[in-house]
Symmetry: C2
């Protein structure tokens, strides 16, 4: 798929799918030590961040992804005090985690500091909670961090990574999940973005199997809309370190959300008929 | 957004959004008395039907739309025997309606017979139930049909139309809804596709208000993924002719579905936080 200058387009020959946003112009582009980060001003979706030519987020629809990567897992845990985010350099996930009063500290570990600096400049709403005294930002390799972290030291791990190619590839395998399992408390949870329920069914099945081989007792799939990602339908896989019940939401959150509610929480766990087979 | 010959692309300057499917070639194109109908062979989504350059359906993902335009409303009604489909010429909605044993007859009223003939040729799975003795196909104007239909003669009206521009414009206003309300039985329901929850909020609000001005007692929004439509997130508005309870699904359907289940039914009614405001 090619495009004229008024459109940002992302297309995948493998998926056979393309997506485009009408743009006013490019605000920023840089080559960090890890990847190429760009920011565009779109006509209708606010600002757009891309990494290596792939859509990461837009102002208009990132609330879906960020809320669904955080609130279901935090609610299902019940009282996660120690949270780690692997990836998530745009800080949108961090901001949502910090809305939960029971969180005592949250460490965001993204290998590329430039993503955070670009977000601070162009997406200030995402980084507005970065000064929260409970937040720590580390710009190091998440795999190495996890290998060195103490056992039983984290209640919730959120893996908010790019696609399982390039820098994030090592975040989608049994060896990494084994380290996560070791680091988690007995009743801990892990949640990882797991691509599209429609076109990445094999990846979703493989991730769940690898998590279980790594020691996780059970996995659940959460699904939710995400217009700027391929198919507009996205998922996260929630894994339990041990056999435990997930906490169901008793009421809507006390803080402001744009998508998440107690009903949306329950809805996200509903499994399409084709995924049961 | 422009495209080379290997991609079918649909883009809207108004929405600022574009969508593309990689294609192998065009199988069919004709100008009917009402619109231009085309069929493409895609690389990864099976066949694609477009009308006036807009994506209508693909083999791979039409199950989402067709199941969600039918099973929630039929289940919520409880025992709809007399069903009318306005639009729906591709016959996918008709096929799903006929899976319900309590349906005694269903009339599909699409102004353009050519859509059905093209579907018979290129999407035979969608038209496979057309010979069911309970099915009637009429190729006439749905607005005129509704005006002449007897009061109290239909249990469920499904408005499966194209966007509210062009031929379908007259299906999105109070005058038409008033006729639908007259034709419906006291406990009748109406369901109409209502575009994207993210980018058509005004249309959704306007439709609901017009339905209520036309006499409907209440409306609910159903939302579901639909990758080939703008934003990949779609909705249907379900209206009750009178104040009645909707029937909740007691169990999964006895017939085969690819998306719909009892859990998905409940999930579809969950309202995002931003829609409550």
């Amino acid at each position: 798929m090619i495009s004229d200058g008024d459109w940002y387009t992302e297309s995948s020959d493998e998926l056979g799918l393309g997506f485009g946003l009408k743009i006013r112009g490019k605000l920023h582009e840089e080559r960090s030590p890890f990847q190429t980060i760009a920011v565009y001003e779109t006509e209708t979706f606010g600002r757009l961040m891309t990494i290596d030519g792939l859509v990461m987020l837009t102002d208009r629809d990132n609330f879906l992804y960020h809320e669904m990567m955080t609130h279901p897992a935090l609610t299902a845990h019940g009282n996660a005090a120690r949270v780690v985010i692997i990836g998530g350099g745009d800080c949108g996930t961090l901001r949502e985690v910090l809305k939960h009063d029971h969180v005592e500290h949250v460490t965001q570990i993204d290998i590329d500091e430039r993503v955070t600096r670009v977000a601070e400049q162009y997406f200030p709403r995402l980084t507005e909670a970065n000064d929260d005294p409970r937040a720590r930002l580390a710009f190091i390799d998440g795999i190495a961090w996890m290998r060195e972290a103490a056992a039983d030291s984290v209640d919730l791990i959120i893996i908010d990574s790019t696609d399982p190619i390039g820098p994030a590839e090592g975040l989608f395998n049994e060896a990494f999940y084994r380290e996560c399992h070791r680091v988690l408390a007995h009743d801990g949870l892990m949640v990882q973005q797991s691509e599209s329920p429609l076109v990445h069914q094999q990846l979703i099945a493989d991730m769940s199997a690898a998590m279980q081989r790594a020691g996780f007792a059970a996995t659940d799939l959460l699904s939710f809309p995400q217009p700027c990602y391929p198919t507009g339908w996205w998922s996260a896989t929630l894994a339990r370190a041990s056999a435990r019940e997930l906490v169901a939401p008793a009421r809507d959150p006390a803080f402001e959300t744009f998508y998440y509610t107690a009903d949306i929480h329950r809805a996200a766990f509903a499994r399409p008929a084709f995924m049961r087979r």
